[in-house]
């Protein structure tokens, strides 16, 4: 009876949230099938080789005119496989839910990570890039900050890393509660304009000058607590394109625990058993796949909304949307992000090396630009006269992330869009990209500016809900058999991974509840043995066994 095509749960889509959920369910002892219609892992968060990316962009271009791609010449970019281009680039706070899940699931051992070297901010006033000090010592050493400002900054940082709820303190009382973050920094903490902007955009990853203080403070606190865990920087980035590779790691873990993987197949039909009687031994759902001999069955489906076959969303009472449990995602989260990708063969520089030799004396020594391997550069809102009102985020990754060959760098550039703009992602981002390219490590003004080998822009949209909005409220079906995890809302650069880990855990517990119910009700009617019925689930990640000599039986 334990047929090969019968599963407890079928997970559709291999995005990070779904992959973490699948790994946890497989490890908890459930029979998992994990499907993706793409022939690559990661969905909208995939890491693609250069050829795969060019294919992806070309296909996208046909269906979506906001996508553009231009290559200097294909000859300039050999070794396609040595590129891991992330469709949804992000960094990972060193002390957060994703890192916890990576370590506790053992997935961290599959991949490599490196620290983000630089966090920098563009100063429009001086038309230059400034590196944000990474630690208290750096702030003390920074000669550009006056003593008074240092004291104010320290006072603020102490406040921002407090354990106490921010709402409790006097800083956020009364009129302050509604102040935009950047204003609060200037008034309550007496920080100057430049510092306030740096904290608001480069450290707290605010997007607009109107962004509220409380969510910004909570984000900042999470990032501050990540500093020093693995070193200087609060952020890590995974090798080979980070989230796409991490998704693969969780999928491998699911497979090792018995999960079955079927990629590159479309779900062609999905039928639901007529009765809702869970005591019936027949499974709830039967799915057929394109070019796949046998139908597969399951009791529970977990699917990102965009992957769920449209025909199947009839029975609303079967569906439960898992609300996002990630804090401070922002209620009016924009539905789209303008993204750009650029490959270059000369390094950028966000910082200069001050000659270390002479002691604390004057710093008039010649400065040499330090090439960036991995760094973040933030353009605060209105950095450019004709620019857009929101902040623009740049992430540069080099060979140290193993996502490019030696001597190449990828520049990811993005900005969230709150409204439907009539301009293309290229029109919005190109000026910022050009400005970024002017910060060459070669630096001498006689050098020609860096010429990109590939430039591509696209609009990353969060698929609008295909379900009636009423289901959002009624989404608390008492006996759901379809779970929809929160879609990766467009979060600031460090947040998508942590959001995926938290939302995967929430989805996992929902799924366990549903699956246990099926098992218990069937136990009464069938003659399955105790062992088959009892799946005790105590933790999201069971302890990873340290010694595995028993394998040799």
């Amino acid at each position: 009876m334990d047929n090969e095509g019968n599963f407890d749960v079928i997970v559709l889509g291999t995005g990070l949230t779904e992959s973490i959920t699948a790994a946890a369910l497989a490890k908890a002892g459930f029979k998992v099938a994990h499907l993706d219609r793409n022939d690559y892992y990661g969905g909208g968060e995939a890491s693609l080789s250069l050829d795969e990316y060019i294919n992806w962009a070309t296909q996208n271009k046909d269906s979506n005119e906001s996508t553009s791609i231009s290559l200097s010449s294909t000859d300039a970019l050999p070794n396609s496989r040595q590129y891991s281009i992330s469709l949804s680039p992000s960094v990972i706070p060193a002390a957060g839910p994703l890192i916890t899940s990576l370590v506790e699931s053992g997935v961290s051992r599959y991949g490599g990570f490196r620290l983000v070297e630089y966090i920098s901010v563009y100063s429009a006033a001086e038309n230059k890039v400034k590196t944000v000090p990474g630690s208290k010592e750096d702030i003390f050493k920074d000669k550009a900050i006056s003593l008074l400002d240092k004291r104010r900054l320290m006072r603020f940082l102490a406040f921002a890393s407090t354990d106490v709820d921010f709402e409790e303190g006097p800083e956020l009382q009364g009129a302050n509660a509604d102040l935009p973050f950047v204003e609060l920094l200037k008034t309550t903490f007496s920080l100057n304009q430049e510092m306030a902007e740096t904290i608001t955009y480069a450290l707290s990853h605010c997007v607009l000058p109107s962004d509220k203080a409380l969510p910004a403070l909570r984000r900042l606190r999470r990032y501050l607590r990540s500093t020093g865990r693995y070193g200087h920087s609060p952020f890590l980035i995974g090798h080979y394109g980070s989230s796409g590779e991490i998704a693969q790691g969780f999928c491998r873990t699911a497979a090792v625990a018995g999960g079955v993987y079927i990629l590159g197949k479309e779900v062609t039909s999905m039928t639901r058993k007529r009765t809702t009687d869970e005591t019936q031994p027949t499974p709830m759902y039967t799915l057929t796949l394109s070019d796949f001999p046998e139908p597969i069955t399951c009791d529970l489906i977990i699917s990102s909304e965009s992957r769920l076959p449209a025909t199947s969303i009839g029975d609303i009472e079967d569906v439960r949307r898992i609300p996002s449990v990630f804090p401070d995602a922002g209620e009016e989260a924009p539905r789209a992000v303008a993204r750009g990708i650029c490959i270059i063969d000369q390094p950028l520089s966000f910082a200069t090396r001050q000659k270390p030799s002479s002691s604390e004396g004057e710093d008039h020594e010649p400065e040499s630009p330090l090439p960036v391997d991995t760094g973040i550069l933030i353009f605060p809102p209105s950095s450019l006269d004709a620019g857009i009102a929101s902040a623009v985020t740049v992430l540069v990754v080099g060979e140290g992330t193993l996502s490019v060959p030696k001597g190449k760098w990828i520049i990811y550039i993005s900005t969230p869009l709150s409204t439907n703009l009539s301009v293309s992602p290229e029109q919005i981002l190109k000026p910022y990209l050009d400005l970024t390219l002017s910060f060459s490590a070669a630096s001498s003004s006689t050098e020609p500016p860096i010429v990109p080998l590939l430039t591509s822009f696209y609009l990353h949209t969060i698929p609008p809900s295909t379900m009636p909005s009423s289901t959002m409220e009624s989404a608390s079906s008492l006996s759901p058999t379809i779970l929809i995890p929160p879609s990766p809302a467009n979060l600031s650069l460090p947040d998508p991974g942590d959001a995926a880990a938290l939302n995967a855990e929430a989805t996992f517990w929902e799924a366990v509840k549903v699956l246990q119910k099926f098992r218990i009700s069937r136990k009464k009617t069938s003659d399955e043995t105790e062992d088959e019925v009892n799946v005790e689930v105590e933790r999201f990640w069971p302890p990873v066994p340290n010694e595995e000599g028993d394998d040799e039986e």
Binding site: R114, E117, G231, E245, R252, V260, L263, D550
Partner: protein, 258 residues
């Protein structure tokens, strides 16, 4: 860790080795034979059944194999690129009593040449040699090592092992044919029996001899951290930037899971 005690960490080279081959040819058994034969169990910590580690001594060098099983992801052509990344060696296994499994092995070799490092060392292993040796296959229990598939994920139910037989009549792939293919494709070649152990250690030793150790050492030295995935020649300042997540795992855990 055990190899710190052996005092040879400076010369120990990590090598990622991936296993490929059709279901039920004995991939896992080949590895388990290698790992348990050479080494007392419970010495090396490994992670679930995710990968096994085993050291291989070679003159003054110690190779530390990190052996990755497919975990069944090859069944529906769903192996992740991660699987091939930075693999310095591969063992492609077929079953000498099933001609089709050699054809499958050939397609895996092609896939490796497409997906993996250009200078990956590939060994072809014709497994289940015991089934065609009269001495070992006369009993009714001649199911060979396909029963030993310890990894649930790769054991394929319903795929019955070849029935026991008298002698060479079970053989479907002549040694010469496979040898000729291996020579042509530039692969190491062995016939093995995970059940008796024949040929197993040889595969891993010969691979070890062929691996460009100096090259890996140089790359690892540049990169600091000793994971094979991390080897690959880093820029100068990347050394302190490569991070081992386990290192500080006990420090601030989920400081703000709010």
């Amino acid at each position: 860790m055990a190899d710190a005690a052996s005092g040879s960490t400076d010369k120990s080279v990590q090598v990622k080795l991936v296993l490929l081959g059709e279901a039920a040819v004995g991939k896992s058994s080949v590895v388990l034979r290698f790992v348990s034969d050479e080494f007392q169990p419970n010495k090396e910590p490994t992670i679930g059944a995710a990968f096994l580690t085993q050291k291989c001594r070679l003159e003054d060098r110690v190779l530390r194999y990190e052996i990755w099983d497919t975990a069944g992801q090859e069944r529906f052509h769903s192996l992740a690129p991660m699987y091939y990344r930075n693999a310095q060696a591969a063992v492609v296994v077929y079953d000498i009593t099933k001609a089709a499994s050699l054809e499958k092995a050939k397609s895996w070799v092609k896939e490796l040449q497409r997906q993996a490092n250009p200078n990956i060392v590939i060994a072809l292993a014709g497994n289940k040699l015991d089934l065609v040796q009269p001495s070992s296959s006369s009993s009714g229990n001649a199911s060979s090592e396909s029963e030993d598939e310890a990894d649930d994920a790769t054991a394929t139910p319903g795929e019955a092992p070849s029935p026991g037989g008298e002698s060479d009549s079970l053989r479907q792939v002549p040694r010469e044919e496979a040898q000729a293919y291996a020579t042509e494709a530039g692969l190491l070649f062995f016939e093995t029996s995970a059940k008796t152990g024949e040929g197993i250690v040889e595969i891993f030793t010969e691979i070890a001899k062929k691996i460009p150790i100096e090259h890996i050492l140089a790359a690892t030295r540049g990169g600091g951290v000793g994971r094979p995935g991390a080897a690959g020649g880093r820029p100068g300042n990347a050394q302190d930037a490569a991070v081992n997540l386990e290192e500080n795992a006990n420090k601030p855990k989920d400081a703000c899971n709010c």
